[in-house]
């Protein structure tokens, strides 16, 4: 590539990243200010940096339990989605069976179902079976859109593995479960990583269902934020600090899977 072209790319990327990061910077900036400074003066960086807003959140259980609740149901959902999606994706990628195409398409249609449509029936269903306001309720509800996505992603990765490997393993006397866990899963590790990343992401960012299905014990952080905004609409500093803290888990997850993501995206069909 010529030098002028790579310089152009650098300019484009710098501008785009600035566009992405400035709003986030503004939130971080606000979270380090006192409320008086936020509403009183306009400054590009905190004049008197304070950690008071973060202290409010990290010392109050009604705040920090929100993070714990969110993390619990997100992890449960990711594990559950992968556990059921792995064998299903294997079936779709290796065999033809009665109604396979219809089933695959039907699964994908669930990814197209607006959460708003399901909010009320979910509320009634989980209340009826006594799961309302539990972590597992939210984890199960999020399976609605995460399982189809996980099957879709994993199927793409599995189809990239030649079928001779399966056949050789069976001839060597491997049983299906042993072959699947010992040989096959390591082969598609990056695919599992990418699928887990997407499950984590869509479960972590979802609010409508997780808010509808919880009241106290499993209340997610995102819902805690909305309630506090409406109750004391002026505590901008704490609101900003809570927002910053919701960004952190995502940022950590991306940092850990960054090499998988680059490689995984490229290997798979996704």
């Amino acid at each position: 590539m010529t030098r002028r072209a790579s310089l152009g790319s650098a300019v484009v990327m710098t501008l785009y990243l600035l566009f992405l990061l400035v709003p986030i910077y503004w939130l971080v900036n606000m979270s380090l200010k006192t409320n008086a400074e936020i509403t009183g003066t306009f400054s590009l960086w905190p004049q008197n940096p304070t950690l008071r807003n973060f202290r409010v959140i990290l010392t109050d259980p009604s705040w920090y339990m929100g993070y714990v609740n969110s993390l619990i149901y997100v992890v449960m959902n990711t594990a559950l989605s992968l556990a059921v999606a792995l064998p299903a994706a294997y079936a779709f990628s290796r065999y033809r069976f009665l109604g396979d195409k219809h089933l695959f398409f039907w699964l994908l249609t669930n990814r197209m179902a607006p959460p708003a449509v399901f909010a009320l029936p979910f509320f009634q269903l989980y209340s009826a079976v006594g799961l309302f306001d539990t972590h597992i309720a939210v984890a199960l509800a999020h399976c609605l859109f995460n399982v189809p996505l996980a099957v879709w992603i994993l199927e793409g990765f599995m189809s990239g593995v030649p079928r001779e490997i399966d056949e050789t393993a069976y001839i060597d006397g491997y049983s299906f479960p042993r072959f699947f866990t010992r040989i096959f899963m390591p082969l598609i590790a990056s695919g599992i990583g990418v699928a887990a990343f997407f499950c984590f992401m869509f479960s972590w960012v979802e609010l409508l269902l997780s808010r509808t299905l919880t009241s106290v014990n499993a209340k997610p952080i995102a819902a805690t934020m909305t309630r506090t905004v409406s109750a004391s609409g002026l505590d901008w500093g704490v609101l900003a600090a809570a927002g910053v803290l919701t960004i952190l888990p995502g940022a950590l997850v991306i940092w850990f899977v960054r090499n998988y993501i680059a490689k995984g995206f490229a290997l798979g069909r996704v």
Partner: protein, 288 residues
Amino acid sequence: MDKPVNNRAWFLVLPVLVLVAFSAVIPLMTVVNYSVQDTFGNNQFFWNGLGWFQEVLESDRIHAALGRQLLFSAIILAIEIPLGIFIALNMPKRGFWASLVLVLMALPLLIPWNVVGTIWQVFGRVDIGLLGHTLAALGVDYNYVNDPLDAWATIIVMDVWHWTSLVALLCYAGLQSIPDAYYQAARIDQASRWGVFRFIELPKMSGVLLIAVLLRFMDSFMIYTEPFVVTGGGPGNATTFLSIDLVKMAIGQFDLGPAAAFSLIYFLVILLISWVFYTVMTAQRDLP
């Protein structure tokens, strides 16, 4: 190579089937049930036939919301898909910078949606937000609370900020899978930059582009949290999209029958448009 027929594969799909039946089929049947019944309260229901469907299909308010929703999704696709491709073409290919850029770009994708709304709500405020303050200082009369056009602009810029990276990351993955030999051949043929894009890069990206278009269409068509936090559907009804309208009906006013009929129609519209996208795009890909 053809896949062998094996109906025992059903056992492998069974867990998914049970799970999705519990979390999708039962709720959906509840919706169907409500959509054909009316109630006087006290859990007494009676058959109402297609009355609610008729009411929803003739409602001017829902027509307007559907129109806004279609316009919104069209604008989102028109901006994010080309911009995402353009960004993907400019991303560094390997090394430290590639990792760093990937991580930074993925950041907006992992922010909870109501926090995305909060970020932009604050960012756009004239009194305390950088964007609103700067625009006001430049003499632009910008107020997303009162001006429908500004509200739309804010929500569109927010969505571009939020989701363009997903399109770019998918396209980037498609680009990464192109062997260097293709580019060398293009150089020997002295292909122009446009030629390389049109005949090598675009066809190789068609698979991921299909996914990107479908995902962006579905998610923009179901958008709820972000506009709800930023504008609450206002000013007036200017940014009341389908989901906001539906939640207002179902949970706010508890109009179960009309809300259920509305839900089913909404779902069918998404299915229909997704199917059209899928058919058109795969048909184009399969052309020689």
